[in-house]
Symmetry: C2
Subunit: 625 residues, 2 copies
Amino acid sequence: MEIRLTSGETLSISEGENIYQAIKGHGIYLVASCGGKGICGKCRVKIVEGRHKVIAYGKLEQKEKDAGFVLACQTIPEEDLMVEIPEESRLVVGDKIAVSRSRDLFELLHSFKADIAPVVKRIVLSLPHPTIHDNISDLERLKRALEEKGIKGMRFSHGFVSSMARSLRDADWKVSLAYTDGPEAIFISPVEEGKDRYGVAVDIGTTTVVVYLVNLTDGRLIDVGSTYNSQLRYGDDVITRIIYATEGGGLRELRDAVVSDINDILAPLIERQNIRSEEIESAVISGNTTMSHIFWGLDPASIREEPYIPTLNYFPLWRGGTAKLSINSQSPVYTVPCVASYVGGDIVAGVLASKMHRNTEIALFMDIGTNGEIAIGNNEWLMTAACSAGPCFEGSGIKHGMRATEGAIESVKIDPATFEPTLGVIGSVRPMGICGSGMIDAISEMFLCGVIDQKGKFIKELKTDRLREGEEGPEFVLYKGEGRDVVLTEVDIENILRAKAAIYAGVSLLLKEVGFTLSAIERVYIAGGFGNYLNVDRAIILGMLPDLPKEKFTFLGNTSIAGAYLCLLSEDMRKEAEEIASKMTYMELSVSRGFMNEYMSALFLPHTDITQFPTVSDLLSKKKP
Amino acid sequence: MEIRLTSGETLSISEGENIYQAIKGHGIYLVASCGGKGICGKCRVKIVEGRHKVIAYGKLEQKEKDAGFVLACQTIPEEDLMVEIPEESRLVVGDKIAVSRSRDLFELLHSFKADIAPVVKRIVLSLPHPTIHDNISDLERLKRALEEKGIKGMRFSHGFVSSMARSLRDADWKVSLAYTDGPEAIFISPVEEGKDRYGVAVDIGTTTVVVYLVNLTDGRLIDVGSTYNSQLRYGDDVITRIIYATEGGGLRELRDAVVSDINDILAPLIERQNIRSEEIESAVISGNTTMSHIFWGLDPASIREEPYIPTLNYFPLWRGGTAKLSINSQSPVYTVPCVASYVGGDIVAGVLASKMHRNTEIALFMDIGTNGEIAIGNNEWLMTAACSAGPCFEGSGIKHGMRATEGAIESVKIDPATFEPTLGVIGSVRPMGICGSGMIDAISEMFLCGVIDQKGKFIKELKTDRLREGEEGPEFVLYKGEGRDVVLTEVDIENILRAKAAIYAGVSLLLKEVGFTLSAIERVYIAGGFGNYLNVDRAIILGMLPDLPKEKFTFLGNTSIAGAYLCLLSEDMRKEAEEIASKMTYMELSVSRGFMNEYMSALFLPHTDITQFPTVSDLLSKKKP
């Protein structure tokens, strides 16, 4: 039988298999914190057409049932179906487009024309059994066999040799030796024909942690897991984490928190696939410079102090055991290289996944996550900067701000006559707060409707009870709840304008530095968990994104994990990542004289220099009577 | 003031210094388990001449005081003294001649014409302070400075980088970088002119553990400590230890035991010298193959099972932290390479210290410790074998056997007319047992006096009440005590003959293998804790040592620690040790067809083929009426 998705794909489904399993089998991941047991009620899909059997409706409400919604994990097709997957049912964390689909990832890898070559290499060795006349030590026997194959000077760690004698005998001297470049021996396993090999790609974001379980033999993404970074309890952004690590002596706590997150994600993934943790033979970590330092257990103090010096940009290969990851303790752990204190491996991975470093066209790469990082360049040059946008788009520092999860207002439309808002809410539930895309929508709408002025201040004389004086000053009521209203205050708007100004000023300054104008930019890549929800038109009205034709914008989702996936599978990709890191010229905006000017100009809606935003200018002139 | 020793040396002594301190300051170590506090009463010396002040007599008996004995640590000279150091007051463990004296060790090192070159090298680097315009990472800054000095491709471990940022700043960017060949960075310290550097050489014997604290700058032996190997509680010989490690699952326990021994010895040494453990920047370990494996935490199972395969002979450099030694956690730990399952690093170190591998003369090297290992050869070839002599010379398996400590009978003379024995006892106390040298004396005397026959059996019709029937059969009473007699039983004699036969058969077989006769041997080196107490003439009568002129024998003491000392200080020595290990041809006696014949012939006193022992033959013919 087949399932056709309204988004275009057609998937096959086996007799008796439920929709959740079938969709996942095709590399599309649904929100399902219970793992497909019918408990969490998050894998809602809408059956557009076709007979099907519903085992249970779980938490679904009557009106949802009436509208054709079912839980994917509790529904079995009885004939070909047409199914719609609502946006909010797709995996919430990160990567919505290319990157959450195994097939797309695989195509991405192949588009680089890169061979599959994980960090760990393998060689099969048939050693002669020791006898009284051939009684050299186990290690010499191994070295002799390696030399016969032309491999010399292999290094052997204590960890390797401590299990070597047993492994050789268990495998009856016919072994598969895992090793890394160096060369350095990693571990020995029995030779098993057709045995799969596994690795994990990890994106350590300031806010979220994403883990991909990957088949290293064929490059297939097997399963995905994600969670919020538990370091959040110590602070929302990298600065508060650094302070906690350094002044609070909490480095170990922070490290343990994120390592536990990774291990907690990994445990159900490998259990579902019936894999032992020892079979995971390599890991790639991608994160910003602070996250990478904390993962490595390195004091991040100098990152925060002028002149902002990271301890490392290029990280040596680490071991799974030393890193305390729940993988083979000898497994190499590769860290995507960083560029500077505020441009990390996540951006290098992102540029890699965007391929902008291979093309002749000049591209702008923007990663708007907990912070904002940008890169401009092509196959000849690359410039990068960090914008200190802060985490307000993730809800931090905004009165009713929240992350893009159930209950968040993600889109806002305001009636220019009545000032009544129409809200789009994630999960179609009662609004509980507002997320980044909602903020951008709300502010650009309020600006177009004349609720706020160019400076983001409320027009006091406006006749609407939506505008009121709150505890923190003037505020606009987006939602009047029984228990709790959802508002956007003037202070919130100020914070959001500061963030968008920092991003736009960064782009302007980088362009100036290389002597180009906006028109030179042929493509804009938007990365970050934010990515997909972002309405480009509204973000241009806000003055956050440059006023370029919409078709120049490409959403890439979580490029940090996509880049980590590429590095996990290919030696060429690791080399390219290192080339990108060394090739990128970092510009420290905080000490640049021009930055403050650009920033001040960008604090307006959309900008003091309206000629930079011709489409917004048009819109405004049309509005005016 | 000066102290003249009856053994020839003259030492200077400062005002107010005690004799113990003065002697130690000149590199001669006294038994003093309390570390010179007047408690243990072991540092007995005899004042032959000169005024002196005695602070306390401690445990000394009246007759000892009457004879001029004092405790060296409780006696302060008031004018130049003449002092006699009794044998038993010198450090009991190992090394009596060359090796216990700093000066001799130093001369040994220099006689090789080897430069001082510890495993850890140093380079001084002056790094420019980071600025906003020179804001590369700390590691890149370090690499840049190294490249300016022509050092490329340095490896950096996680352990190194995790303290790097702090160390660079604490030293204000002018640093001394410690690194090993590879090259691999070890740690960073501030540049301090004239600062001493320290290392430790460790001999892990089956029975004893010896630690040398060495100044790596000038090669001086600073202090010495030793103790019994706490693994003794799990068994006397390597076989029982292997069984305990493998079948008893006690590998970790055994490892922890010996590591604690080393750390326990080290603690007072560095405290006395006012050194922090972090300042000890390298260690060299020398031990037999089983001891090396256990120290490395490697399962020694295969060592015991035919075809007797060690896991490693050449050990990678380990780290102090991983090894759990109380030294700098980044310090390299070098292990002297082994040759085969029963010829270990202690023998390689011994051959190195003997220098036989450099000379053209053919030498026989014998290490008679808990086991017996032999090597024959010169600068062109080397053969080696292990004799499975067992630990009987250390008291194990002998009814009243004991180690060479206080109360042990170490020499025996028997009156051929009355059969009354005259005993030499360590510590001049009441005899409590008999040690190896006492056993050799007793048996050769009993043989010469006709108390036992060629097969080691008692002559039953002998008229003496010294010969009696004990619980385990016939026995000879060496000492009639009030509480406990000390005897040597026929079973004891059988065991000792087996041990000596194994050693002699090993020598015979190795010689046969290379096509030489005894006369080809130009020098015999005797190593091992046993070394010094051994009476060569008696050992020849016993048929343990070959019948060669006495002047061909040289006693070297504990050559395992001497070799470790050499390797600690010199790269050439480490290379030579590795050359020795790879050059030595190992002969597995246990499966050699000829061995059983040689062994059976050697079970007699001195040998079935008396022509191999002409001097004994002479002695016997003189005795006969």
